[in-house]
C-alpha cells in the first residue's frame, strides 16, 4: 500500500497521454491534458505527506506539532495556477480554431497542407457539424 499513490500518479500520466494520442476533439484533449497534470498533483502531495500530521497551519495547534511538508503544498499551489493558465489559453486557441476551421477534430485542423493548397473537401463541413460542441 505504501507505494500506491506513486503508482496512481504514473497511471494518471499514462492514461492522460493515451487520451491525448487518440483524441478526436480538442476540448476532450484539453481534459486529457488536465489528467496528465493531476498526476503531478498526486505525486507531489503524496511525497509531502506524513501519517498522523496536521496541515502546516499552526492556528489551532501550537507550532512544533508534526505537520506535513508545506513546500510540496506551495509547489502544488503554483502548479494549479499553471494548470489554470494553460487551460484558459488552450480553450481560447480551440475557440478560434473552431471559428476558422469549423471543426474541433485534430485530424482536420492540421497546421499546413502540402503544396500550399488547402485540401478542404466537402467532408470538412460534415465533420465540423458532427464534432460541434
Amino acid at each position: 500500500m505504501s507505494m500506491l499513490p506513486y503508482a496512481v500518479a504514473a497511471w494518471l500520466f499514462g492514461i492522460g497521454l493515451y487520451g491525448i494520442a487518440t483524441s478526436r476533439n480538442f476540448i476532450h484533449l484539453v481534459g486529457c491534458l488536465g489528467i496528465c497534470q493531476s498526476a503531478t498533483y498526486v505525486l507531489l502531495l503524496g511525497l509531502g505527506y506524513r501519517w498522523g500530521s496536521i496541515a502546516p497551519i499552526f492556528y489551532d495547534h501550537p507550532p512544533g506539532t508534526p505537520a506535513v511538508d508545506p513546500v510540496m503544498q506551495a509547489l502544488v499551489l503554483t502548479d494549479i495556477v499553471v494548470g489554470a493558465t494553460l487551460t484558459a489559453l488552450l480553450l481560447v486557441l480551440t475557440i478560434q480554431a473552431y471559428k476558422r476551421g469549423g471543426s474541433l477534430d485534430p485530424e482536420i485542423l492540421r497546421p499546413m497542407r502540402p503544396g500550399g493548397q488547402p485540401d478542404r473537401g466537402a467532408s470538412r463541413a460534415d465533420d465540423g457539424e458532427r464534432t460541434a460542441p
Partner: protein, 258 residues
Amino acid sequence: MSPRLRVALLALSGLALLPGAAAVIAGLPPFGATIAQYGERINAIAPDARHVANMVSAINFDLRGLDTLGEEFMLLAAITGTVVLLRGHRGEGNSGRAMRRAGRALIPRSEAVVLACRIAGPLTAVFGLYVVVHATVTPGGGFQGGVILASATLLIYLGEGYAGWRDAVRSHWLDALEGGGALLFALCGLGPMLMGAAFMQNVLPLGTFRDLFSGGLMLIENLGVALAVTGGFTQLFLEFMEETRATDEPEEPGEESA
C-alpha cells in the same frame, strides 16, 4: 500514422518504461513515512522568524516569494494572451446582447435568480475579502481569495443581465487592477533593495503571531496578488463571455481588427 499504429507505439514505450518506473517507485521513501528536511525546517523556524501561522503562505510570499512573483506574471501572460487572441471575429462594444446565437432560445431571467444573486453576490465578495486578508493566519491567501472575488463579479452577470454586468465591469479598469497588482508585488521586491536589504526581504514590522497583522511585507504582497488575480480572472470571464455574442457582420481577422 494510423491510430492503431499510434496506440501500439504508445503501448510499446509504456512497456519499455515499466521496469524503470517500478524501480523508481520502489526506490522512493514509503508513502507517509517521513517528510523532507526542507519542509521540516520551515515548519520549525517560520512561525518564530515571521510570526505567521500559515506555512504555505510563508513559503509563497516570503521564503520562496520569487516563485510566486513568477507565477503571478505567468497568470498575467496568460490573460494578456487571452485578450490578444480573442480579438476580432465577434460583436464588439457594449450595445449588443449576449447569448444571442442562431438556434438558441433566449430565456428570461427568473426573479428568484435575481434575488439569490443580489444576496449571494455581496456575501461572496465579503467571503473573498475574508480569505484574502487572513492569508497569514488561516488557509487561504491572495490567489484563492482573488478567484472568489472574481466569481462574485460573475454573479452580477447572472443577476443583472449582460448590460448590467458590462456597465459594472470595464475592461481597462481590469487591466489597471491586474497590472497594478502585479506592479505592487514587483515593487515589494525592489523596495527593500532601496533600503539596502535583499530583493523581497521582509523589512516591515512582523506583527503578532495568530493576528491579522502578522508577516510584515507579506501582507502587501498578498494584497498585490489579490488585486492582480481579481482583475485577471474577471478579465478572463469578460473575454469568454464576449464570445457568446453573435458576430454583427463578417469581419477579417488579423492586424486591422486588433
